[in-house]
Amino acid sequence: MADELRITRQYVDALTFDPGYALITRQYVEVLQSSSLFIEVVTDTLSLIQTEVDAGPRPASANNSVSFTHSEIDAGPRPASVNSIISFIDTEIDRGPRPDSAHHSLGITDSYTIHQSTINLSVTNTLIFAHHGGRVYNISANNTLVFIPMGARITTANNVLTFVELISAGKSEDIENTIVLIQTVITQSTLNKLVVDSLLLTHSGTYQLEGSSCIQHNYTPFVGFSTDIETTPPDVVAPTLSAAIMTLTYPYVSPTTTLVLRNPQFSNKDTLNFNRVNRQTRGGTLIVYANSIWPKIQTLQVEVRWLKPTQLENYLTFLGLSLGKEIGLLDHENRQWRGIITKPDTPVSNPENKDLTISFEFEGELV
């Protein structure tokens, strides 16, 4: 660019009058010089080395925050170069004023050895590569990131890459994004944790019919419903009773001996005997407990009078045969029982002439 001159002051002598000539005797000239080229190189190099000797259980936080801010007020045509280089392990090969390839390897390795199992550890590596070029030709720009999360236990391993390529001017042959993700998790243990929320809701209901006196005499249990399976409600169907003559059979299965007796006298007893635990706490509360598998003993006590001598003989013979063995008993209500005679030594009495009386106790269960 050529320089320009600007006359700032002149001294002139007039030689003649109208028309005439003037003679410039002195002149002040300023040279307006064009701006020069400034080639400046601004280099910031920052190396951070943290060496921590941890005598405590664990450092709470270790942060490296590096901020580069380049603020350049350039009055010239262009800056030659503005570079910021952060090198952890950085190798740069520059072959000329316009390099064909620039290779930067930046490796961040977080390695933790944790000897405690209950720790929540968050490891985050964030890299941002930004290439901004004004006029770049024949340049290959490659960004390679390798994330290697290694740890004894990684609950969630996330690798997030975001490539943003902005070319505001110039040429670009190809835009290639190559992502290689290799995740390797070595499982050292599998924890199966069972989470159970038990909320037991039960319901039950019962009812009763009123207005009839029959419900105080008939077999009318009012059985509702319940989700409690600990107890079994009574059968709502009344047992069928009919007239029969008490008959003993032996053995119970495939009986070979049958003894027909008379029906028992009144005051016969149908007895239930349970095994229960009754305990009183120190505070006076009564605790009654019974396991459902504990035996429930049902006993019949009968007395039969007015037997014939042959019936008595047969009865004694029957006792000898079935002593301690299971027999069948058809009671006077036509219900079939199976069980054993528990008191065979009950004496046969003869209170009146030809009035032969026997009594026995039978323990068994309804068939």
């Binding site: 039960t202 009763q208 105080q216 249990p221 409690d228 107890t231 009344a238 007893k269 239930l272 009654v288």
Partner: protein, 136 residues
């Protein structure tokens, strides 16, 4: 009328009986043990039962009702029972009688089962509600 409901509190079954015979019993279960020293000094040991009562009812029922009560006892002999007695009192009780002897005492023509049966029940528990006494 006696109403038995079991198992309390999740009642499922209701059995209705006639009112019990006379000579029904309601007795506290507190006990006092008296020890006397050689000089005549008396020491008493009291065992309270937390306001628990023992009820003794004797029922005369028909044979069919006895079978119903037998089935009720067979199912709930260790459960808590809600009892509404002939005085309209509400009790929470347990069966404590053992054994349960259903004795046929005679014939009853026309009654279900044609027989009369007696059964004595011993129950122990708490009174939770009673009707207000008359004003007169």
């Amino acid at each position: 009328m006696i109403i038995l409901q079991a198992p309390w509190p999740k009642v499922e079954t209701t059995t209705i009986l006639r009112s019990p015979q006379f000579n029904d019993v309601q007795a506290k279960q507190n006990t006092v043990d008296i020890k006397r020293a050689m000089d005549g000094a008396k020491t008493t040991y009291v065992k309270t039962t937390n306001s628990r009562y023992k009820l003794t009812y004797q029922f005369l029922v028909s044979r069919m009702k006895a079978l119903e009560l037998r089935a009720f006892v067979y199912s709930y002999y260790s459960s808590k029972i809600k009892l509404i007695n002939h005085k309209n009192e509400i009790w929470i009780v347990n069966f404590i009688s053992n054994p349960f002897a259903f004795e046929t005492i005679g014939s009853a023509k026309g009654a279900p089962g044609n027989e009369d049966v007696t059964i004595t029940l011993e129950l122990e528990g708490f009174l939770i509600s009673a009707p207000s006494p008359p004003n007169c």
